[in-house]
Symmetry: C2
Subunit: 380 residues, 2 copies
């Protein structure tokens, strides 16, 4: 369900495992619709399209969270849905996710939830959680969209009114001091088999992932704590498939930011840097097959995203420049280039963290990726 | 051109590079036709089908050698053909290959060529080359088909008469003493860029490749000599793309057996054991893009082919057993199982040659592959 780059890369792994796939795509130009043998056109929020998909597959899985949980629940009689709509809820609805994590005693930013029908005094909210506040649309956001950092009661009131007007629940959180952004990636089967890749460090700029470093700044203690947190979450949400847990390292310890129940940008490095990729283990998991090894194949891995620059040049036009770097693993998504659009990623594995990072950036830059000012000189 | 497993695995690499592919398939059930987004149905020996393919692509490349070189030559005005029909001739026509290698002073078994219209005294042939003789159909054979080992003049006469009757040129060779079978895999671009993977040891039983060990028994001297031989051949045949040179290690040195100008079974290990796979470098080469690193990612790699057993069980039925081996990389081709049919392969990378080999065999056996008696206990 969904035909973006995640579905496209899942198809590559499915081919090797001999697993036949049908992609539900909104448009024939979607990244995975361009490579899939079998495509059903339709929206994941259209009951008719879901039935057409369910009729021709044994298991339904997801490329994104922009789904209708009630439609999915109705579909469960006819087809296996992995992860289940009950698990997916914690990725679709950030308020439900935050409450469940809190109820299970997992470390979170302090938070409040405001329903669209509720009135709340923004000044008092700030008094309780401290300024600035982070206000998130509980549903519908992705890649930083639907996340607002507000400095005072006036700004907060404006954002809350807009969300209420759109009928969207607001999740309001304290802004924690972020020392580093980390991600824990795990896979779990219906039989309960569980595997965790090493915890990674990610660089998010304006809410969008720009690079992933393995292990980056992640300490041994953080690796163990991150994996343990992710395992507890995987078990209580009863996830099937790959789950990414976005984490903030703060001066006082790790807190959980968000969940994704699918292969995730923070796990693209596994295609070239781990024995088994997140895409292959996602397939194995949803088919209740044994999981493959999540060990790294090298000491250091860097994964850098390729974005369209202001000139919106097609990275294909500069493919030769990027491929001239013999250790760069390119993964392009076949998307039409647009400024700021994520068009691919580059993985580099090796033994020196500075070398793998600068090599991956070199290839990403060759493909037209602008380097954000917020990144340090290694990326330049 | 051709929609077998090689085309299928090429599509996996093409997806990652953002290269769009159209597959010419004889049947919609062919391995690559099952996964390709775009399929043209038709035979590689049908002029109409070739024109339909050439109309929709920029570059034509090959999954097998069962092609019509004259039709291809006629097509060259409209589309880039890589490798060219002039290069392909040395893979399609074993007599032309053997004469060209001999003319360039490359080490070969002693040989004679007998045209279908020619009469030859088999007894004298054996007198000149020694018994037993190896008689090969110069064209049309693959995986051991079209290769005959004959012990005396009566047998030789029978085989030669059959080939003459079929209008096929015979390549007759001395049977060299084979200490080991090796293969040198290289890639070359139209610009002349060249890359060689490490020389591997292969186990062929009844003419069919059963396992590939990297480096196996290959000595440093053999590695250097094999790569140098392959480079000389690549240059004089002016190959574009991947070329495999099958070699015999004999008590008196290496001799060249055959050439293949496409990704090759002896190079499947590169998918998981080399920085760049043969499929990706084949694509890079035919598009005249820089070649990726051919370095190994680990010290030892084993690749074992999966075959249908006498019960013709589908390897999918035992997928869980094979995937329970966490370091086994499975590559299945989606083919209908038949006894003796090649259905996939398993790659294992690591540091201990015995462990990677026995692990790969364990997974192949789990998928129903019979173990040939000719293989030693490591495979059991």
């Amino acid at each position: 369900m969904g035909a973006g780059q995640l579905a496209r890369m899942l198809l590559e792994s499915a081919s090797a495992l001999g697993v036949e796939c049908v992609v539900l795509a909104e448009s024939p130009g979607d990244a995975a619709a361009l490579t899939a043998h079998d495509v059903v056109l339709g929206s994941p929020r259209d009951a008719g399209a879901l039935v057409r998909l369910a009729d021709v597959v044994d298991v339904v899985t997801f490329d994104h969270e922009l789904v209708d949980l009630e439609l999915l629940a109705a579909l469960e009689q006819d087809v296996t849905i992995a992860p289940s709509p009950r698990a997916l809820r914690f990725a679709v609805d950030k308020a439900a996710m935050r409450r469940a994590l809190f109820d299970h005693g997992l470390p979170c930013p302090r938070f409040e939830v405001v329903e669209p029908t509720e009135h709340v005094d923004a000044g008092q909210l700030g008094g309780r959680l401290g300024w600035p506040l982070v206000i998130k649309a509980a549903t519908g956001g992705y890649d930083g969209r639907g996340v607002f950092v507000v400095d005072d009661a006036t700004e907060a009131t404006g954002v809350l009114e807009n969300l209420a007007h759109a009928g969207v629940t607001a999740l309001i959180e304290e802004r924690v001091e972020i020392v580093a952004e980390l991600a824990a990636l795990v896979a779990r089967t219906p039989s309960g088999a569980f595997a965790a890749w090493p915890v990674v460090e990610t660089a998010q700029i304006d809410g969008v992932c720009r690079e992933v470093l393995v292990p980056g700044s992640v300490s041994e203690a953080q690796r163990i704590e991150g994996a343990a947190l992710a395992q507890r979450i995987a078990e209580f949400v009863d996830v099937v498939g790959v789950m990414a847990v976005e984490l903030f390292a703060t001066p006082t310890g790790i807190v959980v930011n968000e969940l994704a129940m699918r292969p995730h940008n923070s796990g693209h490095w596994t295609q070239d840097g781990a024995v088994t990729s997140q895409f292959e283990n996602h397939l194995r998991a949803i088919l209740d097959l044994p999981l493959g090894s999540t060990d790294m194949v090298a000491k250091e891995v860097a994964s850098v995203n390729v974005f369209g620059g202001d000139d919106a040049l097609d990275p294909k036009a500069s493919l030769a420049d990027a491929l001239a770097i013999p250790t760069a693993h390119l993964h392009l998504y076949g998307k039409e280039p647009r400024p700021g659009r994520k068009l691919g990623h580059v993985n580099v594995v090796g033994t020196d963290p500075d070398v793998v990072r600068s090599t991956a950036w070199q290839a990403a830059r060759a493909l037209g990726t602008p380097v954000p000012d917020a990144l340090d000189k290694e990326a330049r």
